[in-house]
Symmetry: C2
Subunit: 145 residues, 2 copies
């Protein structure tokens, strides 16, 4: 079975507010969206926004605070990191860390969306993006030994 | 700019324990992994496991408990949902919800990994997977109007 993450669901306090934040970033709410769920088409993957109480009901538990997660959008240049960081803050994101040079040669910024979901905007010269913007680790493109 | 999530990072309490859980599911630790980070190659995307304290240091904040997130692996049949659920529980995952029929015609199960990160295993006949296992919303394959 292939390893994959097909769909990422963010539990949100206010679905309209959360949807607006991503729309302000230029994302387009997909036609499959409904009153209680917003879908966005990503490269080969879907992001869903979904009220926290619905999520808790589906899971049968209150989702725990223990799970720290970041969602990264890797970019093609440092300029793109600065551009997207600034766009996200203008759209109402909470600045967590302004763009900075990492110890591993990358360039990274962090923001939180209106519900506290952390996004990383990153330029990583060691992990180049394909033409279709997918990310494949260099070792995974070498023949298996 | 394309919309994408290139890399998903899970903050973990014990990197060896977390890595072992995914290896027990048949995932292979990528050569790019280091002492303080484990990478897994997914379809067009990378999953990273990273100690919570390193994550907190990078972000400049303790990650908040407010962010509820699920990671979904969509599958090709109900049998695959049952198989993967059972595999994940055997690997040490916490069963949250045994496979059940949803109101929207799907078949879904939930488990938590050793650090509480919630995985959804889903068969959704309305959102078919491509041959390469990527998920594209039906509306995104229709010409824009």
């Amino acid at each position: 079975m292939e390893r994959r993450i097909s769909l990422i669901t963010l539990g949100v306090d206010d679905l309209d507010r959360a949807t607006r934040f991503y729309e302000l970033l230029g994302w387009r709410r997909a036609a499959e969206s409904q009153a209680e769920v917003t879908f966005f088409q990503l490269v080969g993957q879907v992001l869903a926004l979904y009220p926290r109480e619905n999520l808790a009901a589906d899971l049968g538990i209150r989702t725990s605070g223990a799970a720290s997660v970041t969602l990264a959008q890797n970019l093609r240049s440092r300029d793109e990191v600065e551009f997207l960081y600034s766009e996200a803050v203008t759209a109402g994101g909470t600045p967590l860390r302004t763009p900075y040079e990492t110890g591993w040669g990358g360039y990274v910024a962090y923001i939180a969306d209106p519900d506290g979901h952390v996004w990383e905007f990153a330029h990583n010269p060691a992990f180049p993006l394909a033409d279709d913007a997918t990310l494949t680790l260099p070792s995974a493109t070498r023949p298996a030994t």
